[in-house]
C-alpha cells in the first residue's frame, strides 16, 4: 500500500519531467550583447572595423580566492569597458565535475572567438573541446599542455617569467638583509613555486653566497592563519626578509611582518601582487605578475591576427607582465637601487643564465 503510493508519486514525477523536457525549447544561447555570431579563423585579421570580439575567461579558482586573480579580472573588465568592440565574459569553472561541461557549453554557444582557461586542471577539458570546435581559439594559462604542436587552435601562455622574477627578488633580498638570513616561503610544493624558488636561491648566491637562506612550504594557497604563524616564528628566529609566493595566503605573512615586534625590522616580499594597505611599510618590493596584462596582450594579438597557435609563449618583463616595483620608499638606499638596476639589465639582456635547480 505504501509502495503503491510511492510508485504513483514516482510515475507522476517522471511524467512531469518528461513534459518539461518536451515543452521547453532546446537550449538556445543567451542573447549576446548586440554581437553577430562571430566565426573568426584564428589567424585572420579583423576585416570590418565594427567587428565585435567575444572572449570568455574560465577561472579555475573562485574569483576572490587570490589577489592576482582578482586583479586579473579587474584588468580584463577594464579592457572590456574601454573597448566597445570587445566583450569579455568571466566564468568561474572551479569544480572538477564542471570543467568540461562549462567549457563545452561556452563553445556550443557559437559566439566566442577565444576561450581562455587556466592551469593544468583545465587542460584535458580544453583539449577535448578544442578538437570539436576548430574555429575557436583556446588559450591556456600555465597549463603545460602536452604536445601542443599538434593542436592548431590551442596556444599557451606562461603568466610571468618566474625564474627571472625569483632571481631579481632574491638578489634584492640579499642586498637588503641586515641579519644575513632570509626565507623563501612557497605555498605548495609545485612546479611554478619551485621555479621562483630556484631563481630566488640563485639570485642570492649571485649577490652574496654567505647569506643563509631557507625554503619552507606551508602547503596552502589559502590559509592565512598558518602562514601568519609560520612567518611570526621565522621572524623570531632571526630571518628578516621573507619572500612568499602563496597567492591567497600571502596576506598572512604581510600581517605578520606588519605586527612583528622584535629586534629586527621585518620585511616581506610577496609575489604576484601588492599589499600596500595592510603592509604598513613592511613590504620591501613585490615580484608582481600582471596576469591581466597577459590576457589583454593575448586578446590584442588575437585581434591583430598576430597570436601564434600551437606554441608556448612566456609573457615576461618585455610584455609588461612582470615587474619588481619597490614599495619601501626611502628604506632602499641608492647604492642598492643602482646595483639592482644593473642586475635587472643583465638579466633582461640574457647575460645571466638561471637554471631550474633548487634545493629544499
Amino acid at each position: 500500500m505504501k509502495r503503491t503510493g510511492t510508485v504513483a508519486m514516482a510515475l507522476v514525477l517522471v511524467c512531469c519531467f518528461l513534459l518539461a523536457a518536451c515543452a521547453a525549447p532546446a537550449a538556445t544561447p543567451a542573447p549576446a550583447p548586440a554581437a553577430p555570431a562571430a566565426q573568426a579563423a584564428p589567424d585572420a585579421p579583423a576585416e570590418e572595423p565594427a567587428k565585435v570580439w567575444n572572449i570568455a575567461l574560465c577561472t579555475i579558482y573562485p574569483f576572490d580566492q587570490a589577489v592576482w586573480l582578482t586583479e586579473m579580472i579587474e584588468d580584463m573588465r577594464k579592457f572590456d569597458d574601454e573597448n566597445d568592440n570587445v566583450n569579455i565574459k568571466i566564468v568561474e569553472v572551479s569544480e572538477t565535475s564542471q570543467y568540461e561541461p562549462k567549457i563545452r557549453a561556452l563553445a556550443e554557444q557559437g559566439i566566442y572567438d577565444m576561450i581562455m582557461t587556466q592551469f593544468s586542471g583545465h587542460v584535458e577539458a580544453t583539449l577535448a573541446v578544442a578538437k570539436d570546435y576548430p574555429n575557436i581559439v583556446f588559450f591556456n594559462q600555465d597549463g603545460m599542455v602536452p604536445n601542443i604542436e599538434q593542436y592548431p587552435n590551442v596556444t599557451e601562455g606562461r603568466g610571468g617569467d618566474r625564474l627571472s622574477t625569483g632571481f631579481l627578488t632574491g638578489a634584492l633580498a640579499a642586498l637588503m638583509t641586515k641579519t644575513g638570513k632570509v626565507v623563501f616561503m612557497g605555498g605548495k610544493d609545485i612546479e611554478n613555486v619551485q621555479m621562483i624558488a630556484a631563481g630566488w636561491q640563485q639570485g642570492i648566491k649571485y649577490v652574496n653566497p654567505d647569506v643563509e637562506e631557507k625554503f619552507v612550504i606551508p602547503d596552502t594557497f589559502n590559509d592565512t592563519t598558518i602562514t601568519r604563524e609560520m612567518a611570526t616564528s621565522l621572524y623570531q628566529q632571526g630571518y628578516d626578509i621573507i619572500g612568499v609566493s602563496a597567492s591567497g595566503a600571502n596576506a598572512g605573512v604581510v600581517q605578520a611582518a606588519a605586527e612583528f615586534k622584535g629586534d629586527l625590522y621585518a620585511w616581506v616580499l610577496p609575489f604576484e601582487s601588492h599589499f600596500h594597505e595592510i603592509a604598513d611599510g613592511h613590504e620591501l618590493a613585490s615580484g608582481v605578475a600582471h596576469n591581466g596584462v597577459m590576457g589583454v596582450n593575448a586578446i590584442k594579438a588575437l585581434m591583430d591576427g598576430t597570436l601564434q597557435m600551437s606554441i608556448v609563449k612566456i609573457y615576461g618583463f618585455p610584455d609588461g607582465v612582470n615587474e619588481v616595483p619597490f614599495c619601501a620608499g626611502d628604506a632602499v638606499p641608492q647604492d642598492v637601487q643602482d646595483r639592482f638596476a644593473e642586475i635587472l639589465a643583465d638579466v633582461l639582456d640574457g647575460k645571466i643564465t638561471i637554471t631550474r635547480d633548487f634545493h629544499y
Binding site: M1, T4, G5, T6, V7, A8, M9, A10, L11, V12, L13, F17, A20, A21, A24, P25, A26, A27, P29, A30, V91, E92, V93, E95, T96, S97, Q98, P101, K102, A105, L106, Q109, F119, S120, G121, V123, E124, D142, G143, M144, V145, P146, D189, I190, E191, N192, Q194
Partner: protein, 365 residues
C-alpha cells in the same frame, strides 16, 4: 484483463488522492516551492534577476537531450553514494566516510594503470573494478571494526579517514610515479586507459538499483540488516549474527562507494583530479535522508540534485548570476524538505486539540 487494468489504475488514483496522505504526498513539492522562493528572494536581494536565473537552471537541467544526459551524469555518483549511506544506516552505522572510500578506490585504479599498463583492456578493466571495490571496502571496514570491537564512534573515524585519504592522494599525485608528468603544478594522476561507455553506465546503475531493492526487501541478508538496524538487542536475542551483519553492511556500503568512484573515473574523467570527490560526499547523505531510505525516493532526490548541478552549468555560462546560488538553493531544498508536512500539521492539530481539551476541562470545573 482490461478490468484488472482499470482496477489497478483506479486503485492508484484513489491512493493518490487519499485525504490523510495528502500532506505526506505534497510535502516534497511544497518544500521545493518554498526553497525556490526563498533562494529567489536572496538572489533578488543581491540585485540579480531571479526569474532569469531559474530559467537558466531549468534549461540547463532539462532543456535538451544533451542537458538531460548531463543531468543523469551528475545523478549517477550521487545516487550510488546515497545507496551506500542508506545501506549502512539500515545497519545502524552512521557512514559519512564516502569521500575517503572514493579516493581509496581511485588511488588503486591509478596504481593498476601505473604498474600493470600492458594488460589487455578487458582484463585491466575487471582488475580495476575489483581493486577499486576492495580498496573502498577496506576503508569502510576500519571504522566498522573499531566500532564493533572497541566501541569507538564511527562518525569520527570516518571523518578522520576522509582527511587522511585526501592528503594521501594529494601527496601521491604530486610526488610519486602516479603523478601526471605533464602537470607538475596540479595534483593529477596519469590517464587511465579503460573506459566505460555511457550506455553501459546507465545499464549498470539500473541493475544496481534493482539488485539493491531485491537485496534489502527480499533477501535474507537484507532482512537481517533491517532487524539489526532497528533493534540490535532484539536481533541478538533472536539469534541473528549481529557482528556479521554489521560488517556486511559496511562491506556493501564501501562497495557502492567504490562503484561510484569507478563510474566517475572510468566513465567520465579518465584522469583522477585530486579533489574530484569533495562535493559528492555529503550529497549522498542528503539524498538518502531526503529519499527517506526508499530506493525510488533516493533516485528522485538524486535526480533533483543532479538537475541542480546540470542547471548550474548553463546558469554560470549564460547569465551573470553567481554560481553560489545553486548551493544556496540546494541548502534550502534540504532544509525545507526535511520538514515532513504531515508531521507538522499533525503536531499543530494535536496542540490545538490539547488546548481545546484543557479549556473544556477548566470550564467544566
Amino acid at each position: 484483463m482490461k478490468q484488472k487494468l482499470t482496477d489497478t489504475l483506479r486503485g492508484l488514483w484513489k491512493e493518490l488522492i487519499r485525504k490523510d496522505k495528502i500532506a505526506h504526498r505534497i510535502s516534497p513539492f511544497v518544500a521545493l516551492l518554498l526553497s525556490l522562493v526563498a533562494a529567489g528572494l536572496v538572489v533578488t536581494a543581491t540585485g540579480a534577476n531571479a526569474l532569469e536565473a531559474y530559467t537558466a537552471l531549468f534549461k540547463g537541467a532539462l532543456g535538451s537531450v544533451s542537458s538531460i544526459k548531463q543531468t543523469i551524469r551528475y545523478t549517477i555518483p550521487i545516487f550510488l553514494l546515497g545507496l551506500s549511506f542508506s545501506v549502512c544506516s539500515r545497519g545502524g552505522f552512521f557512514a559519512i566516510g564516502q569521500e575517503g572510500q572514493m579516493y581509496a578506490a581511485a588511488l588503486l585504479l591509478v596504481c593498476v594503470q601505473c604498474y600493470l599498463p600492458h594488460l589487455p583492456q578487458p582484463l585491466m578493466m575487471i582488475l580495476m573494478v575489483i581493486c577499486g571495490i576492495v580498496a573502498a571496502v577496506v576503508c569502510a571496514l576500519i571504522p566498522a571494526i573499531t566500532k564493533h570491537y572497541f566501541g569507538v564512534n564511527e562518525a569520527m573515524v570516518f571523518v578522520m579517514l576522509n582527511y587522511i585519504s585526501l592528503l594521501l592522494v594529494e601527496y601521491l599525485f604530486l610526488h610519486s610515479p602516479l603523478r601526471n608528468p605533464d602537470s607538475a603544478s596540479y595534483p593529477k594522476s596519469i590517464a587511465v586507459a579503460p573506459t566505460i561507455s555511457t550506455v553501459a553506465l546507465y545499464i549498470g546503475v539500473i541493475a544496481i538499483l534493482i539488485l539493491f531493492i531485491l537485496l534489502i526487501k527480499k533477501s535474507i541478508p537484507g532482512y537481517r540488516l533491517r532487524m539489526v538496524g532497528q533493534n540490535t538487542a532484539y536481533a541478538k536475542a533472536s539469534g541473528l549474527p549481529v557482528t556479521q551483519t554489521i560488517l556486511f553492511s559496511a562491506v556493501l556500503g564501501g562497495g557502492l562507494a567504490g562503484l561510484a568512484s569507478i563510474s566517475e573515473v572510468l566513465g567520465v574523467y579518465h584522469v583522477v583530479y585530486n579533489n574530484f570527490a569533495s562535493a559528492l560526499g555529503f550529497k549522498g547523505v542528503t539524498v538518502a535522508l531526503l529519499g527517506m531510505h526508499n530506493p525510488l525516493g533516493m533516485l528522485f532526490a538524486s535526480l533533483l540534485l543532479g538537475a541542480l548541478q546540470g542547471g548550474s552549468v548553463m546558469l554560470s555560462t549564460t547569465t551573470d548570476v553567481s554560481p553560489e546560488i545553486v548551493s544556496v538553493v540546494e541548502g534550502f531544498i534540504m532544509f525545507f524538505s526535511s520538514v515532513n508536512l504531515a508531521v507538522m500539521i499533525g503536531r499543530i492539530t494535536d496542540s490545538r486539540k490539547r488546548r481545546k481539551y484543557h479549556k473544556e476541562e477548566r470550564a467544566a470545573q
